[in-house]
């Protein structure tokens, strides 16, 4: 274990050091709070840093250890939590002005499980408003910078969580993935992001964007760290009717014993070619060769319906969001505008939503309202639901032949802040490869696979597994990570410029 800078340790190393009494949880937490104080002015990964709360949690962990009580596997490890999960007593905004200043009276199940696992929550991370976006430029509180190049996006919507990892502000983070919002930020920041099987991690207390797609999941700097976090947050929750009541796959064991020897891996034919950055494809093709060298059989697989995934997603997600965001009505919590005694409740609602929502949210609410309108419902929403069936069938056919599928995580590396800000269709393309898994509900991961030669920015390899076979992601991800780290001589993130 490196003795120098605690913030460079992995979560596994940190937990081991805390458990062995080589360092206290308070020392670990303070080191990360110091790091945040030093660099977050540039990165803007956090919307709220709960220094007092984090140190109190850390003191409690140290007290438990001193008393000889059993500690969780991630005891004393700091974590950055996406601001879309409710946290009792700590502001939760979902990146929106409409919830500015709101302090939830309860914890999300995920938040509670983190606390029960003795994880130290450092604060809440920046995100695209209500998780709508691919760049974290839609946050009402300003964009986050990519630690590899602060003038570029850190991905979205969980850009704050990914940037916190890449800037060594936290060894663990939590994201949510509705169309790729964990994997895409992971890819463009050189970190690991996992979208667990839909229903594997409770959505109770997760502020809903698109309920049939949203999935919380782990973000980390290593595959093993992601697995440890996955195990801490996954599992059945009676408070979420869509939570799967089945054992969590052995993800930690898979991450510790990563191997692709004898596996059959499918390359999705439809992900590649026009619109893909040459350097991204170059690194992806090298990953394919690496997997062959490691003993996998790699075959091409065709999933023809995937080309319709993006349009289907941009009908289904806005439709669900137009319904979910109806709760922001200015009456129960958050902002209220225009309540001067002269206006009706309906007028106050409309004025509040106009003032409180940003342009991307308004665009999606109206798109969803349009798609669900009488006369258009069958052509838009109904057809999109049929595409969802066809995509699931493509996955089923593919997984009858191969163990996992692979593709680039994103078509390009991180683009400059502002480049696609007023071009929604160009922005939506960032999630081209990640969306099919959300529509079908299966599991997927992004692991770093090198830097694109033309801009020296990180490229992600996406691994997709069938539902409830999340352990396969970790087997493949760990094998790829180990082989690449040996080849490069160090983890990819060490090539990032100093902040």
């Amino acid at each position: 274990m490196p003795a120098t800078d605690i913030t460079r340790w992995t979560a596994a190393e940190t937990a081991e050091a805390v458990a062995a009494g080589k360092v206290t949880a308070v020392e670990v937490t303070q080191a990360h709070l110091d790091r945040i104080a030093a660099v977050d002015g540039k990165v803007h990964a956090f919307l709220h840093v709960d220094a007092d709360g984090a140190l109190a949690q850390a003191r409690a962990v140290d007290a438990k250890r001193e008393a000889g009580e059993k500690l969780g596997p991630l005891a004393g490890v700091p974590l950055a939590l996406k601001d879309v999960f409710t946290t009792e007593g700590i502001p939760t905004t979902a990146g929106s002005k409409i919830l500015e200043g709101w302090i939830p009276p309860y914890d999300a199940t995920l938040t509670k499980r983190l606390k029960d696992a003795d994880v130290v929550i450092l604060g809440k991370t920046n995100m695209d408003e209500f998780a709508m976006g691919s760049s974290t430029e839609n946050s009402a509180y300003g964009p986050t910078g990519n630690p590899w190049d602060l003038a570029r996006i850190p991905g979205g919507s969980g850009g704050g969580s990914a940037a916190a990892l890449a800037a060594y502000e936290a060894p663990l983070a939590i994201g949510t993935d509705t169309g790729g919002s964990i994997r895409q930020p992971g890819a463009v920041t050189g970190t690991v992001g996992v979208k667990p099987t839909y229903g594997a991690v409770s959505r109770y207390g997760l502020i809903a964007f698109s309920s049939s797609l949203d999935q919380g999941g782990p973000c980390a700097r290593t595959v093993l760290d992601a697995a440890l976090l996955h195990e801490a947050i996954a599992g059945h929750d009676p408070l979420d009717s869509t939570s799967i009541d089945a054992p969590v796959p052995p993800v930690v064991e898979a991450a510790r014993n990563g191997s692709v020897d004898g596996m059959r891996i499918g390359v999705v034919k439809e992900f590649g070619g026009e619109g893909y950055q040459p350097g991204v494809m170059q690194r992806f093709n090298e990953s394919v060769e690496l997997l062959r060298e490691l003993g996998a059989e790699v075959v091409e697989v065709s999933c023809p319906s995937f080309t319709y995934a993006l349009p289907a997603y941009y009908l289904i997600a806005p439709s669900e969001c137009s319904s979910n965001l109806a709760r922001f009505d200015a009456m129960r919590y958050g902002l209220r505008v225009g309540d001067d005694g002269t206006r009706s409740a309906e007028d106050v609602t409309a004025l509040t939503r106009e003032a409180g929502f940003g342009p991307e949210v308004k665009r999606r609410i109206m798109l969803g309202t349009y798609a669900l309108s009488s006369g258009y419902y069958d052509a838009y929403y109904g057809s999109a639901q049929k595409v969802r069936t066809l995509i699931t069938r493509d996955f089923d056919r593919a997984f009858a032949d191969v163990d996992v599928l692979i593709s680039p995580t994103t078509p390009t590396t991180a683009f400059p802040i502002g480049e696609r800000a007023d071009d929604p269709m160009a922005m939506y393309l960032a999630d081209l490869c990640t969306i099919p898994s959300n529509l079908a509900g299966n599991a997927a991961m992004s692991v770093p696979c090198g830097l694109a030669p033309e801009d020296n920015l990180p490229v992600g390899l996406q691994i997709i597994a069938p539902a409830m076979a999340d352990d396969r992601l970790y087997r493949v991800g760990a094998a790829v990570e180990r082989a690449f780290t040996e080849k490069w001589g160090h983890p990819l993130l060490e090539e990032a410029p100093a902040l």
Binding site: Y106, G199, R332, E346, K362, R363, T369, Y380, G441
Partner: protein, 98 residues
Amino acid sequence: MPGITREEVAHLARLSRLELKSEELDHFADQLNDIVDAVARVSEIAAEDVPPTSHPLPLTNVWRKDEVRPSLTPQQALSGAPAQEEERFRVPQILGED
């Protein structure tokens, strides 16, 4: 597929409870037109014999015993309300004075 006009955006905004500003109407009309043009492709492969999927999991009702359990206190439940009165959410008037 029909295009989305400025007037239609105004109608959608009303349905969505959004008091859009005048300049937003043109801006959103252009953008929504582009998006709707792009997403209309879904109908190309949506044959009649394909069943729709609304959710990745088979959803079933979840029942719990009808028994009293701890929950938020009225003060906690009201803690995020923009305005409150007599332990209730205070909302603007709904009916006019007439």
